[in-house]
Symmetry: C2
Subunit: 240 residues, 2 copies
Amino acid sequence: MSALRAILFDIDDTLFSTTEFARHARRNAVEAMIERGLKLDADTVLRELDEVISEFGSNYAHHYEKLLQRLPPEALAGLNPSLVISAGIVSYHDTKFQELKPFADVAPLLADLRAAGMHLGVVTHGWTVKQAEKLVRLRLLRFFDPLAVIISEQVGISKPNPKLYAKALRELDLPASEVLYVGDNPTHDIAPPQSLGMRAAWIKRAAKHDLAGTGIQPDHVVEDFEGLRTVLREVYGIAV
Amino acid sequence: MSALRAILFDIDDTLFSTTEFARHARRNAVEAMIERGLKLDADTVLRELDEVISEFGSNYAHHYEKLLQRLPPEALAGLNPSLVISAGIVSYHDTKFQELKPFADVAPLLADLRAAGMHLGVVTHGWTVKQAEKLVRLRLLRFFDPLAVIISEQVGISKPNPKLYAKALRELDLPASEVLYVGDNPTHDIAPPQSLGMRAAWIKRAAKHDLAGTGIQPDHVVEDFEGLRTVLREVYGIAV
């Protein structure tokens, strides 16, 4: 087995709990709208908001306008819709800026990997500025080689196309066999890097999809970054 | 003279210093980009950013992408543009959320006016969510009648069209003669409400345009909200 020289990470539900964070931010937004006068209970509004996001996509710019269009008119009687929407947006953003944090075991392992001489990067699916902003707000950017931060929109290639992962290998100037990919989504994060000859670790902690029935076999299955640390030390002999 | 029953306010450069705030937020953004590796001095980058904003308009969504396209390629050598852009955007937003504050004399006067039984509202030019978000972040929303917050995009009428101000009169259900408008821009904030029979006060503190040569005659010229307080008390007999 050739030595490991670099590790590439997925962002969402790998470096932080995207799912849990989004749920919390949406609830805060809905509560701010109710505080601004919206006459409905939070659970009802939250269910409708989840529907809007699933129908229009998470990157759509007007979720809250659509939400208000769908609510019964009497819920908005006497209110100015733009003030209700803004209350929700402000609360959502405030949550994002105050509460966006990596899993507690992420920064310590990344720091130790850098100290051990590993190259670190990111290969992520999503909108350029949104994904880059997450790395800034998570305060993880300092651990990564800037040119090995590959965002699908920025390079015009989408997960699970293996070309996206190949682009990171070119930036790192390393053969696939010396690079490990770490992510939560079997079809996006395990199969494509393996098809290039990279190794792939499946991190289960926040994973929404199971391996069962997929025929996908990760090189490593770990619960969290402490489990990953053990694999890196024991299997690859990295001093972390 | 009929009694004054309501006062309507402009937002930008009337309730807070839009101009000064924007200058400060842009400088913070540029400094964050330089900290992220951009190889140019802050004044040069700031001049280019000001040009981008003046050419593409202040509501354009991609100022920082355009800025980077215009800088010499060597300023970005070895950098990932998306990370530089995100550093700027994050810093701009953090400034907005932490430093957006009304002029110090605004909230006290609005509170006293409410206590004196006045109806208060806003008539503002701009994008619905952006303007409403300013009122939320400035923490001034509690002083205004929600339905008397009139935003040009939301109602499809732009300053200086008098119909925008007439819409506020309809929401308040008051004759023009009982309503005062307060703003910094002579052509937007003085002439149109006067054309409907409203009174209009010009607040000079942050005003970018002078009256000279415009032929516009405000009913009142005040330096700040303390000056406005004096006018309201002495001319209109309001107990503030």
